[in-house]
């Protein structure tokens, strides 16, 4: 039987190790300092929650009332009168548009992230270069899709294209970071072999690096596609196309049976996409 892994909280073993030295950092169980720290953390946690719930006038009563309202509406959405199936053609149209937004947005990001992936990899761009590249990627990621969608709508008008651009640009952040990690993990030997044979940089990249990183790049892009399918159902709420647009109108109209149908369709569609995507990914890598 494997012994359980030793953890920071010292037990009998730790106390016998240094009997004369008093409580060291490894046997903190009975030290006053440790107790004081625990108490301090506990007080801090309580204060943070007190602050958080007071700040937004959040209390159990309000929460319970909200849950009650939600229960009534959920009943209207799924039980009585239940989903409005006559509305399904519109919903289907919206889902297809969301799918397309996710597909094209992810593709845009998957391509644009490639240079970032190489520029942010320590083994290719050097320490400073990689740090700058990662900083750029973090900055890109910091702007949420919805905000970008609003900006792009100023340029190309409301509709699916704005959603594609928003999702495409935002996804570069995460994909670029993951790509860089893939590039950092490549095997140097093929590169050296090609260099020894006198290949130029382009040929080295094409024959030694691309084949190594392509499956992982593709796998991450498909994973991001799963995330983006969800995002593509949301961007419509601000006017950037997809099923979110229909949801927005039906929410404002308080038409809960149509909202119910939309939610139900999204659940089914996203589950199907998740399943397919996971299957494809498991075959690639």
């Amino acid at each position: 039987m494997n012994p359980p892994r030793a953890t920071g909280q010292g037990t009998a073993g730790a106390t016998t190790q240094a009997p004369g030295q008093g409580p060291g950092p490894r046997s903190p169980r009975y030290s006053h300092w440790w107790l004081a720290r625990q108490a301090g953390v506990a007080v801090l946690v309580v204060l943070v929650y007190w602050w958080a719930s007071a700040g937004i006038e959040f209390n159990v009563d309000r929460l319970l009332r909200g849950l009650g309202q939600l229960w009534t509406i959920t009943r209207q959405m799924f039980y009585q009168p239940g989903p409005d199936w006559n509305y399904f053609p519109t919903v289907f149209e919206g889902l297809v548009e969301s799918f397309n937004i996710a597909l094209l947005g992810t593709t845009l990001a998957a391509v644009l992230a490639i240079p970032f992936g190489f520029l942010a990899a320590t083994n290719l761009a050097g320490r400073t270069g990689a740090a700058v590249g990662k900083l750029c990627l973090n900055a890109i990621r910091a702007f949420p899709e919805l905000l970008l969608a609003i900006v792009f709508m100023r340029g190309v008008g409301p509709g699916a294209f704005a959603g594609i651009l928003a999702i495409g640009i935002h996804s570069i952040g995460m994909l670029g970071k993951l790509y860089a990690e893939v590039v950092e993990a490549i095997d140097r030997q093929p590169v050296e072999a090609l260099q020894a044979a006198g290949a130029n940089r382009l040929l080295t990249a094409w024959y030694a690096i691309v084949p190594q990183v392509l499956p992982d790049f593709a796998s991450y892009a498909i994973y991001r596609f799963e995330i983006n399918v969800r995002a593509a159902t949301v961007v419509g709420l601000v006017g950037a196309g997809g099923i979110g647009k229909s949801l927005y109108f039906q929410l404002l109209a308080w038409d809960w049976s149509k909202v119910g149908l939309i939610l139900l369709s999204i659940i089914v569609a996203v589950s199907v996409v998740d399943y397919l995507s996971a299957t494809i990914r498991s075959r690639i890598v």
Partner: protein
């Protein structure tokens, strides 16, 4: 290259047929997708001046507006804290039920798994929009949406961790005749607690980012002010908000990542 008698044959190149077919399928899919959506690079290039103009009108940001926005920013953080916590509290018991090795009743396990899978299909902002209309605009729908979303992820990740625990302590407790709740308390909780807290922090980082845009769908936080300023064409004010949000997100990310690294 040597084709000696005992040499292994060269690996055969993969079959071309399926790959070509898949590639063809992808091309058709892309053409269809491009035709169905109103993608047009021409529109994009014509739109560049408009977008550039937007950025020009954002500069310089109204710095004096930032002190006014401290309240809404704090509200955003509070929404994220409460949402994550409520989700985590609800996730703790479910993640044990959704773990195959601890949840002995198969029906319970399957129901818990299915519920978690369904919840994770719904994006947080979608939930926020529905909740905002259902319970009224404000911070409450934001907290509720983040709670549901956090519940889904934390429970999924934790249940996977529970499934990967060392079975030794479980078996030992079972051998002493301990009941189910004692087993969970003494064999499961100590093994997964650090991971669980790390997951909560990770989800908190996601939630902070989401909380900044919850207001765009009416669910409280700084996003409400941002949306108002954008709609009123007060771009210089909006720019100040965006920069302030950026700063807060970066700081909280850094702190949370530090904490997570210390945990595991």
């Amino acid at each position: 290259m040597t084709s000696g008698s005992g040499a292994r044959p060269l690996p055969r190149p993969p079959a071309k047929g399926p790959v070509t077919l898949a590639a063809l399928g992808m091309v058709v899919l892309y053409i269809w997708a491009l035709r169905r959506t109103d993608v047009s690079p021409v529109d994009f290039f014509w739109g560049i001046p408009d977008m550039a103009d937007l950025f020009r009108r954002m500069w310089p940001p109204v710095w004096s507006y930032i002190p006014e926005m401290v309240g809404p920013l704090l509200e955003t953080v509070q929404i994220a804290i409460l949402g994550t916590t409520l989700g985590a509290v609800a996730a703790a018991p479910i993640s044990v039920l959704a773990a195959r090795n601890v949840s002995r009743v198969r029906a319970v396990y399957l129901v818990a798994r299915t519920v978690l899978n369904v919840i994770r299909t719904l994006p947080d902002l979608l939930l926020a929009a529905v909740f905002a209309i259902a319970v009224g605009i404000g911070a409450l729908p934001g907290v509720m949406a983040l709670a549901v979303f956090s519940f889904g992820i934390i429970a999924k990740l934790t249940s996977e961790t529970v499934e990967a625990i060392d079975p030794g302590p479980l078996e030992a407790l079972q051998a002493t005749g301990a009941n189910r709740s004692l087993m969970v308390h003494y064999a499961v909780v100590p093994q997964v607690l650090p991971q669980f807290v790390a997951y909560c922090l990770y989800v908190f980082e996601i939630n902070i980012r989401v909380a900044t845009v919850l207001g765009l769908v009416g669910a409280g936080g700084i996003g409400m002010w941002l949306y108002r300023d954008i709609n009123l064409l007060r771009y210089k004010y909006a720019a100040a908000i965006i920069l302030a949000v950026f700063l807060v997100v970066v700081i909280i990310d850094a702190v949370s990542t530090r904490l997570r690294e210390r945990l595991i």
